[in-house]
């Protein structure tokens, strides 16, 4: 009977290790998902760090149309609009689009814009050298601003993509962000 108990204990320990491992795996899915989407670009997320614009050759043989869509999340009172609705650019060519924001409410609000590209594969080839979405954007009550975004389309962009849409959703992150951002203003 003792041998039996020993065997049981060994097996229980191994099974418990699987349980703990799978609990960890559940959380590991979070970074794995991000890495997978970064590599494949299938969820349309663009990089949230600035790209550099060095040694880029402009491919004048074709034009790509980039369209801009803006929306605010529910509960976010800002007016938010792209000054240019669509641009035609050669891959490798630098372009700038300004986004207009106004805080019509009577309280100071910190906003965060989240970009999304459709079709998702184009996200890999959209290089932003400057973007308001890299940081949280504070806006005092009643204030308005123009927020710049500079980008170029990677010349490696697959030939079959002639058109893609960049959409920004603006979130109110005042409650969760620190007050530092507001003071820095």
């Amino acid at each position: 009977m003792n041998g039996q108990t020993k065997n049981n204990k060994a097996l229980v320990l191994r099974l418990a290790a699987i349980v703990v491992g799978m609990f960890g795996f559940g959380f590991a899915l979070v970074p794995l998902y991000d890495v997978f989407c970064d590599i494949t670009g299938i969820n349309g997320k663009t990089r949230n760090t600035a790209a550099s614009y060095d040694f880029v050759t402009v491919d004048e043989s074709r034009l790509v149309t980039v369209e801009f869509i803006t929306r605010t999340n529910s509960g976010m009172p800002w007016e938010f609009e792209a000054q240019t609705k669509r641009v035609k650019v050669h891959p490798g060519e630098m372009a700038q689009v300004d986004f207009y924001v106004r805080n019509p409410s009577s309280r100071d609000i910190i906003g965060q814009a989240i970009p999304s590209v459709s079709p998702g594969t184009a996200a890999l080839y959209l290089n932003k050298t400057e973007c308001f979405c890299f940081n949280q954007q504070p806006l005092l009550a009643g204030q308005e601003a123009l927020m710049p975004m500079k980008f170029y389309v990677d010349p490696q962009l697959p030939e079959d993509i002639h058109f893609f849409t960049l959409s920004y959703t603006l979130y109110d992150v005042t409650a969760t962000s620190s007050e530092v951002a507001m003071n820095n203003k």
């Binding site: 039996q4 065997n7 049981n8 097996l11 229980v12 099974l15 418990a16 699987i18 349980v19 703990v20 491992g21 799978m22 609990f23 795996f25 559940g26 959380f27 899915l29 979070v30 998902y33 494949t40 299938i42 969820n43 997320k45 949230n48 999340n73 965060q112 989240i114 998702g120 594969t121 959703t169 979130y171 109110d172 992150v173 969760t176």
Partner: protein, 529 residues
């Protein structure tokens, strides 16, 4: 401490057990715990069923008449949670507790004290979940799949209670699964080799592995919901860099294997019953084992077929479509094996066999509607309609629940030593069979016509079918009281005494012990030739 010692001491004596409530609270006997699980599951089945009655009463007519939409949402949510985690899974665990040791010739489960724990934490989990319905603001209302941001941004504070109750249910299932695996690995009687194990034991072994693989992932998912909601993390919040679609990936990575957790033991039960009443050995035993294993493995790579409309790239949709269709191959192997077992058998139609036959036909029907849902382009039409509701109720009610009823009728005489009331049993079967089809079959039609699920109101053109569905629902609900009456009679030990073998075509170790099964069995292991 002294009670524990006393209890251990008592257990050493044959058929000597504490009386009254203490017997059930302190019990480490696999048969007692099995009985507890089965009664608990049946009570939960009735409570979850009562919620379904509320849903069907509201949907009897278009417009809002009985409950407000928020309460309706709580009913659909808690109905799902109770039926999945409170009824089907504990019922299978109860059957495993009763039958696995008897079928492999073991004196008890390997870890009897943990067995007691894994049962007795369950009532608390459901007490927490059900009590949340009575709090201000109500209980969970985001669907049993608790998609973010419904469960994070838009839910009320009772979400914390939901999360803790799911944690407890998960802990209970994991402990139960570990117990089953250790019992099957270490306590088989001499000569009971792997490929001699009854199929119910095989399917439960594989189910137990699925449980320990995915229940921790569910625990992780609810924990992320908890921290997103209350502690400022952003796993699923896009504003903070998270992704709500990722919730669906994590949830269904658990959720799809969970589907097979609720059906593999049913395959095992049917594979025990069909040979008995066909008086022939099971056709294709080893192919059954391999089919079960491959279904279990495939279940890990098909989860995104629940998410075809989330905007996945084409290659992912194709992959998940074909992987899903692949599952119908091993499932088809099983269905054909059952049919081949019956082929030229001397079939008799006792109630367990009736339920098993209904299972084979109606589960296959649910499988076919599943195949339709697997086709990505048409799924865009069917997604989130009553067609999906029809599909999963065919596989879970006429599938899993019918198999549990078949199992109860099959083994009840062995448990009580008396034959159940056959008239009541036949009434129960025929009333259930007819009403369940009146209940779920028209759901296919309203679903194909575009009636969305989880909505307390619907367009006028669906009114006639919904009345039929509701009438079928009420009739199916009432039919279960026949089952309750039969079970109460059986517990009072009424009925004709049965032989040890009970059914003349029955094979296996559980039929070699006396009827009713004594409190302790196989203290000296049998030898399997």
């Amino acid at each position: 401490m002294s009670t524990v010692a006393d209890d251990l001491h008592h257990d050493d004596h044959h058929d000597h057990k504490p009386s009254g409530i203490k017997r059930w609270l302190y019990t480490t006997n696999h048969k007692d715990i099995g009985t507890l699980y089965l009664w608990f599951a049946f009570i939960m089945f009735l409570i979850g069923g009562a919620m379904a009655m509320v849903i069907r009463a509201e949907l009897f007519q278009p417009g809002l008449q009985i409950v407000d939409p928020n309460f309706f949402n709580q009913m659909t949510t808690v109905h799902g949670l109770i039926m999945v985690f409170g009824a089907v899974m504990p019922a299978f665990t109860g059957l495993a507790n009763w039958m696995v040791p008897l079928m492999i010739g073991a004196p008890d489960m390997a870890l009897p004290r943990m067995n007691n724990w894994s049962f007795w934490i369950l009532p608390f989990a459901f007490l927490i979940l059900l009590s949340s319905l009575f709090l201000e603001g109500g209980g969970p209302n985001f669907g049993w799949t608790f998609y973010a941001p419904l469960s994070t941004t838009y839910s009320n504070d009772s979400t914390a209670l939901f999360v803790f109750s799911v944690h407890i249910m998960g802990a209970s299932s994991i402990m139960g699964a570990i117990n089953v695996i250790v019992t099957i690995f270490n306590m088989r009687a001499p000569g009971m080799t792997w490929m001699k194990m009854p199929l119910f034991v095989w399917t439960w072994l594989i189910t137990a592995f699925l449980l320990i693989a995915v229940m921790p992932v569910l625990a992780g998912a609810v924990t992320m919901v908890l921290t997103d909601k209350f502690f400022g993390t952003s796993f699923f919040d896009a504003a903070g860099g998270g992704d709500p679609v990722m919730f669906q990936h994590i949830f269904w990575f658990f959720g799809h294997p969970e589907v097979y957790i609720m059906i593999l033991p049913a395959f095992g039960i049917i594979s025990q019953i069909v040979p008995t009443f066909s008086r022939k050995p099971l056709f294709g035993y080893s192919s059954m084992v391999y089919a079960t294993t491959s279904i279990a493995l495939l279940s890990f790579i098909v989860w995104a077929h629940h998410m075809f409309t989330t905007g996945m790239p084409l290659f992912a949709e194709m992959f998940f479509m074909f992987a899903t269709m692949l599952i119908s191959v091993p499932t088809g192997v099983k269905v054909f094996n059952w049919v081949a077992t019956m082929w030229r058998g001397a079939i008799s139609f006792e109630v367990p066999m009736l339920f098993a036959l209904a299972f084979i036909v109606l589960f296959t029907l649910g499988g076919f509607s599943g195949l339709m849902l697997a086709i990505t382009p048409v799924d865009f039409q069917y997604h989130d309609t009553y067609f999906v509701v029809a599909h999963f109720h065919y596989v879970l009610v006429t599938g899993a629940v019918f198999s549990i009823m078949a199992a109860v009728y099959y083994w009840l005489p062995k448990w009580t030593g008396k034959m159940y009331d056959e008239t009541l049993a036949k009434w129960h079967f025929w009333c259930s069979l007819i009403s369940v089809n009146v209940l779920f079959f028209p759901m296919h039609f309203v679903g194909l016509a575009g009636m969305p699920r989880r909505i307390p109101d619907y367009s006028l053109q669906f009114a006639d079918f919904n009345q039929w569905i509701s009438i079928g629902g009420f009739a199916f609900g009432l039919s279960q009281f026949i089952f309750l009456a039969l079970l109460l009679k059986a517990c009072r030990k009424e009925g004709e005494p049965v032989s040890d073998k009970v059914w003349d075509g029955a094979e296996g170790l559980e039929w070699e012990i006396p009827s009713p099964a004594p409190y302790h069995t196989f203290e000296t292991p049998p030898v399997v030739k």
